[in-house]
Symmetry: C2
Subunit: 897 residues, 2 copies
Amino acid sequence: MSTQRVYLFHEGNATMRDLLGGKGANLAEMSNIGLPVPPGFTVTTDVCREYYAQGGKLPAALMDEVRKAMAHLEADLGKKFGDATNPLLVSVRSGAKFSMPGMMDTILNLGLNHTTLQGLIQASGSERFAYDANRRFIMMFSSVVLDLEKHAFEEIFDAQKAKRGVKQDTDLTAEDLRQICNEYLALVLRLTGESFPSDPWRQLELAIEAVFRSWNNDRAIVYRRTEKIPDEIGTAVNIQSMVFGNLGEDCGTGVAFTRDPSTGENIMYGEYLMNAQGEDVVAGIRTPVPISQLRDQNPTIYQEFEGIASKLEYHYKDMMDLEFTIERNRLFMLQCRAGKRTGPAAVRMAVEMVDEKLIDKETAIQRVTGSHLDQLLHPRIDDGYLAEMEMKPVANGLAASPGAAVGKAVFDADTAEEMGKYGEKVILVRDETNPDDVHGMLAAQGILTARGGKTSHAAVVARGFGIPCVAGCEAIRVDAIAKQFRVGDLTVSEGDIITLDGSTGQVFAEKIPLIDPDVSGHFGILMGWCDEFRRLRVRTNADNPRDALQAIEYGAEGIGLCRTEHMFFEADRLPIVRDMILAKSDAQRQAALQKLEVVQQGDFEGIFEVMDGKPVTIRLIDPPLHEFLPSFDELLQTTTELRLAVNSLGGQALKEVLAEKEAMLHAVEGMREANPMLGLRGVRLSIIFPGIVVMQTRAILQAAAAVAKRGKKVLPEIMIPLVSTVQELRVVQTQLEAVAEQVVREQGVDIPYLFGTMIEIPRAALTANEIAERAQFFSFGTNDLTQTTFGFSRDDAEGKFLQKYVEAKILPVNPFETLDRTGVGRLMKMAVEDGRSVNSKLKLGICGEHGGDTESIYFCHELGLDYVSCSPFRVPIARLASAQAAIRDRVKVTLDK
Amino acid sequence: MSTQRVYLFHEGNATMRDLLGGKGANLAEMSNIGLPVPPGFTVTTDVCREYYAQGGKLPAALMDEVRKAMAHLEADLGKKFGDATNPLLVSVRSGAKFSMPGMMDTILNLGLNHTTLQGLIQASGSERFAYDANRRFIMMFSSVVLDLEKHAFEEIFDAQKAKRGVKQDTDLTAEDLRQICNEYLALVLRLTGESFPSDPWRQLELAIEAVFRSWNNDRAIVYRRTEKIPDEIGTAVNIQSMVFGNLGEDCGTGVAFTRDPSTGENIMYGEYLMNAQGEDVVAGIRTPVPISQLRDQNPTIYQEFEGIASKLEYHYKDMMDLEFTIERNRLFMLQCRAGKRTGPAAVRMAVEMVDEKLIDKETAIQRVTGSHLDQLLHPRIDDGYLAEMEMKPVANGLAASPGAAVGKAVFDADTAEEMGKYGEKVILVRDETNPDDVHGMLAAQGILTARGGKTSHAAVVARGFGIPCVAGCEAIRVDAIAKQFRVGDLTVSEGDIITLDGSTGQVFAEKIPLIDPDVSGHFGILMGWCDEFRRLRVRTNADNPRDALQAIEYGAEGIGLCRTEHMFFEADRLPIVRDMILAKSDAQRQAALQKLEVVQQGDFEGIFEVMDGKPVTIRLIDPPLHEFLPSFDELLQTTTELRLAVNSLGGQALKEVLAEKEAMLHAVEGMREANPMLGLRGVRLSIIFPGIVVMQTRAILQAAAAVAKRGKKVLPEIMIPLVSTVQELRVVQTQLEAVAEQVVREQGVDIPYLFGTMIEIPRAALTANEIAERAQFFSFGTNDLTQTTFGFSRDDAEGKFLQKYVEAKILPVNPFETLDRTGVGRLMKMAVEDGRSVNSKLKLGICGEHGGDTESIYFCHELGLDYVSCSPFRVPIARLASAQAAIRDRVKVTLDK
C-alpha cells in the first residue's frame, strides 16, 4: 500500500489505474500531455480499502492531505475554497479501475453555502446561474451523501414551476430558484433533524466518504457481478475544480467518440449542447445536436477539440470516449477513456488501425473479444429497436444455444415439420423435448422449453444443429393439448409470433426485427492474423456435413467431436434403433444393426467428403440406451389409463394395445437408471453390448474407404468415451482394431486411422499414464469431467443451485461455461503430464463446450494441448482466443527477460 | 526365471512355493526334515508359464530333465519305470502356490501298460489289485489327458457289475476287472481313433501337459476369481512314486488335521479307511472312521503318525492338514499344508498357540482374517445342516447387509410391525422399500427386496440398523396386493417361513437353523493384542444409541459417522419432515423445524450419553429432500386413476382426494432430479435451505450441553457433507459456528466442538489445501468418492455392469468393496498431503464402507489416517486389520534395515 493517499493530477499517469482508478489515471495523463484539464486530484483506491478495513471510517490523516491538495488548486486557479468573493467549487466523482457507468454517484458544485453563493454570483455575474448551481448541489448532496429520496426535492421543484405557471426549468427565475433552495434546506432539516452542512470542508469530507460507501450499493454490486469485476479493488475519488457549460451561449458540454463506436468507421462521432451541463443532456430535457454542427457553430473550438481527439487517439492508440465542457469559449477536457464498441466496430477499428500503423497486429488481436465476434456470427435482436419500442421480454430462460429467432409458436413436432415444409418459420415450444421431437426441432427456427438445463435434450440437439434455443424457461406453462402456453396473464396460442434469443435466454411474445450476421472483409483479415500467431489448432464439433461445411468456412481445421448418436435420433433411424435395443433375439438385433450400418456409413461418407484432408474424430455411441426409448412417465400414464379402459370396456383390440404398451413399459423400466449420467453408457455400453460399436467401426472404415477411393484424403480418429480404467480401453480397442483391420483388408485401401479416448472421468485423468500406453489421443470431455469432478449433475445444478452459487460467490463463475482451473484444471494438468510422459506422440485436445470459451482456451494453451474443438459458430472465437493466448505468452517471455 | 525346470523333493523346501507350488514345496520340506515321503519330484510353475507362452507346448528340453529325475527315483526305490518285473508307478498331480482343492485333476498309477501290469501282479502278489489299479489308471488318464467323458467308462463298469449280479465294486473279480480294462482300451480306440498310449514316457509327458492345461479349465478360473488368486502364477506338477493303501488289511489311507478345524480345539481330528485308496473315501463308497480308532486298531502306526503330526505342527507353527497312506504297515506322508479353518477355530488356535509359545502375538494376529471374525459376529446359516439336507437356495440376490435371518414372510410394513409387536419373527419382502416402510423394517428380522442395489434404501437402512438384508433379488416377483411372491414355480405367501443370508445373498423358502455369534474369551484376548499393535483408531458408523452401544462392546473408540437423516425416516418423524419440506410459508416451515429440533435433540442426547468421553462425528443432512417424499411413479399412477374416476363418477369428495394427490405429485415432480446423486443434497441443501442445518446444529449443541450438565464428557464433531469448494464450507460453517456459539452462551456450558467436512467429491480432494484452512477434520466418504471418481452410480453399476467388469478382469475387484488405490487412492493421498501441509492438526478419518474392509484399512494405515470408521459389526475386523497393517510396517522396517 502506498503511503501517499492523495495524488494531484500532475503526479499521476495512465498506468496508475489500480491506484487512481480509470478516470483519475486518464485525467492525470491528459494533464501531463498538456491538454486543458480543470485542475484536481485523486484520493486513491487504497484509501477505499482502508475505509472498509476500518469498518467504514476514513483514515484520520486523510483530510490533511486533501487540504494540501486543495491548496494547490487554489493557487493554480486563484480561487479559494469557501471564499466569499471568488470561491473554488469542485466536483466529487467516483472512479474505479474498470468503468462502471452510472453505478455510483457524482456531486457537482461542492463548496457552496450562504457565503460562497454570494461569491459565485459575483464571479459569474449571474444570480440565476448561481442559485441554479446551488439547488443542483443541495439536491445531489442530499441524495448521495445524506441518503434522502430525490422524490421530495423534485416535488418542491415541480410545485414552484406549477405556482409560476411555467413548463421549462429554464423559465424559472433567480428568485424562484432562491426560494427552491430555501425550501430544500428546510426539507433537509425536517428529514434529518440537522441543518444542511454549510462548512465546505465538512461537505468535502462527507462527499468522499459517500463515494466510498457507494462502492457497495446494490446496483454497483450487481454490475460488478455481471461484468466480473472483483469486489476488492475499490474505487478512487476524483476531486476536480468545476467548469461550467451553462454560463451562457459561449458555453456548452458534449461527449464524443474518436470513431463511430457502432460501425467502427473512422469519423468523429458524438453530440453536444450549448449553454448546458452534462446533467441536462442525460435528463433528456433538451436534445443534443451532432458534433459535426460544432464545426459550423464554433470552428475554432471544433478544431481545437478535433486536434485533442487526434492527439488522444494517437497517444492511447485506441478509439477514445471523450467528455468536454466549453466555459466562456474555453475548452476543457473532463474525461477520456477507451470507448465501448459493438462487435462489428471492434473488428473494423482493429483492422483499420493496423493499416494506419497506429497499432500492430498483436494489439489488434487483443482489442477484440469473443463476445465481439459472437455478435458478428449470429442473427441478433436489434437492441436499438428494443430500446426505442421499450420492449421487455415476457420470460427468461437459459441461454441454451446462441442466436435469435422469430417464428410462429407450435407445440408439437409434427406440426413444426408440416409448417416447415410450407416455408413457415416456426418456434417449437415444448415442456421438454425427447428423441421423438427431433424431426420437428430440425424444421424449427428456434426451440423453447419450459424444463431442462443446458445439457437437456433440447439444448444439446439445438447446439448440435446450430438452432437457437432457450431451455428451462420455468415461467411458461406449456399445454401441448390446448396448443398454447401461458406466462403470467398472457396466453400464446399456436400461430402467434414469438421471438427468442438463445444468446441471452430472453423470450418475447411478439415479433422483434433481427440483424443478420455480417462477416465482412475486416473479419477475414483479423482471422488471418490470428492464424499467424496461434499455436493451438481449432477443430469443430459437428455431426453432419452441413455443420462441418459451416465450420470450415469459419476456419475449422478438423472435427474434434462427431457424436454418432445424434444420427440415431433422426426420424427415419429412431425406429431401427428401437428395434435394435428391444430385439428379442440376436438375429433381430443383427438385422437392425445391419440397417443402421448402411445409414451410418452414408452419414460418415458425407462428413468425410466435406472434411477432405482434415482429421475427423468420431465418438462411438455414448448415451444410455433408454434415451432412445419413449418416456417412462408417459408410458406409465398410458398403461394405467388403458388398464382401466380394458377393465370397464373389455375388447380384444384394446387388450392388445395394452399388452404392447405394457411390454414397452417393462422394457423401459428394466433400463431405467437412478443416475443415468453415471450409469450404463459410453465404453460400458460397448463392453456389455459390443454389437453397436462393432457396427459403427465398420461403418466408419467402410465410409473412409469409399471416400478415399473417390480420391479424397480421410483421417478418421475413433474415440471411445467414458473410460475410467485402461482395461476398458484395452478390451474395446482390441476388438475394434480387429474390425478396422478387417475392413481395411476387405476394401484394399490404406486408411491411417487412430484410436483414442475421452478423458471425462476423474479416474481417467488420475490414471492417464496407464491409458496413454494404449490410446493414440486424448480428448478432454470437460462437460462430464466438470460434472464428475464437482459432483454436479448439470441438469439439476443449473436450475437448482448453480445460479445461487455464482450470485453468492461460492463459485467465481459457472464452471460449465469457464473451466475450473483449480479443480478440473488440476486433473487436466496431471493427465497431460502423465499422458505425455509415457507417450510423447499423444495427441491432446478438448471437445467439451469449454473449447469455445475464451478464458478456457487460454488455459488449454497453457496446458499445451494440440487443439480445441467447439461448435461451428465459435470457431472464429477459438481462433481469436488461441492467438491471444500465444501473444500473451510472447509478452510474458519478453517481460521475463 | 530359474533355468532348472525339475526339482527332486530333496532339492526343494517350504519357502519355494512360488516355484514348486504349495504341495511340491511341502513335500520337499517333509522329505528334508526326515519324514517318510514317497520319493518324487516337481516340475516348476515356470514351466507352466513357458507352456502358455509357447501357445500350449512343453519346452523341448523338459522331458530330458524329467528322465534324469525319474532315474533318481528308480535308484532310490530299486524299481524301474516301464519294467516288466518290478515296475515304478507314479502319481501326477497339480499344485499351485495357493491351494485349489478339487479344481484340477490327478492321475494315479501312471506307468501301467500290458508289460508293467505283469510286473505289478508279480510285485503285489495280487492279480485283482493290479487290474483294479489298471482300470482306475485308464479311466483317469482317458478323462484327464484324452478329455473323454467319464460316463462311458462308468457304463462299462456298471454293465459288468450287472452282468455278474454284484452290487459292490469289491465283489468284482480279477477277471471281471481284466475284461473291463480291455473294454476301456477298445472304447478309447473307438472314441479317439488311436490306441491308448502304452509307452510310460509318453504317458508321463501327456499327463504333465494335461495338468498345465487344466490350469485354465472353467472351474479353476471361476475358483481363482472367487478366491482372488492371480491367473499368472500357474501350477507346478508333482510326480511321485505310488504307494498303495489298498493292498490288503495292513494298508489304508486317511486325512487328519492337527487340531479341530471347526472349533480350534487342540485334538487330532480326521478320519481313515483301511484297505482303500483316497479316491474311495472321496467317492463315498465306504464310510471312513474317526482317526481316534486308529489308536486301537494299530497303535504303532498311530503313534508314529501322531509324532509326525506334532513335529509338523511344531515345524510349521500352524495347524496342519495332512494326508497319509499306510502300505503294508508302513506309513507314508502324501501331503501337508496349513489347514483351512472356521472363524471360531482360527481365533481359538491363534490365541492358544501364543499361550503354548508356539507363535508370537504378531503371528497370531496375522493368522486371523476379517472373514474369520465376520463369521463370529453374525448369526449364520448352519452350513453342515445345509449340506446334510442338500438344501439349495431358491434365489440369490445381493448381499446387502450381513447376517442370516429366519421368519415369516410379510409383504407390508404395517403387518411387519403388528406381528413384531406380538413377538413374531418376520421377514419383510418388498419390491423395493421407501421411507414409509421404515417402521416395518425395524420390526423385521430381515429384509428381502426384488429391486435396488447395495446402496438402495433397503440396503442402507438395513446396514444402519444391523438388520440382515438381501436386496435386488431379481428372480422373485413380489405381488404386494396378493401378499405373496413367486420364484420360478414356487409361491411363497404371507406367513410362510423363509430364511435369508445377508452375507451371501442366498434366499431359502424354508426354515434353516442358524448358529448364533459366539464371542468367546479367545476373541477378547485376540482383540486386546490387536489394540497393542495398531496405530489407527477405530470408530463406528452408528445412528442410534443401540448401535453405538453395540459398537462400544466391540471396541469402538468413537462414532465416525452419525447420519442424522436416518432419524428423519422413523415413523413418528416422517410426517413432520414432510410438513417441513412442503411448507407453504416460512411460519409453517419453522413450526415443523421446531418439532424436529425437539426430537433430534432427544436422539443426540441418547447417543452422547452412551458415547461418554468418546468423539461423535455427526453428519448434517445429506440426501436430497425428495427422498423423504412418496414415490413419484406411485403418485402418477394414483392420480391418473383418480382423474379417470372423477371423470366417470364425479363427486366432491373424490375431487378433493384428487386435488390433494395432484398437489403432492407436483411437489414431488418439482423436486425430481435427473441424477439425484449429483443434485441438490449435502452442503448444497444447507446453502439453499439453511433452516434444516441450523436446527440440527442447535439440536446437537443443546443435547451436548444437557448431557454435559449430567456429568458426561461430550465431544461433538459436526460434519458438513458433499463439499466441492472451500467457499461452501466457509458460508455454512460460519453460519453454524455462530449458532453453536449462541447455544453455548445460552447454556453456559463449555463444549469442545469441532467443525469439519467429508471429502467425497474429487474436487474436494483436489483442493484440500484450501479446504483444510477452514475444516478442523476431514472424513473420507469413499462411497461417494468412488462413485464420482469412477463416474459409476453404484445403484446402476452393481446391477448392470460391475459384476461383468470384475468377471472380465476390467476391474480387479469391486471398488465399492475394496478401495481403488490407483485412482481414488491417488486423490486421497493428495488430500492427506495437501491438507496436512496447511493444517498440521487436521484430523483425518474415513467413514465410507471401505472403513470395514481389510485391504482398504491397510491402505488407510499407509496413508497415515488417524482413524477408520465402520459399522458396529465390522469394528473388530477394523481393529484386526489395523493391527495387521502396523505389524506389516514393523516387518517392512526390519527388512529395510
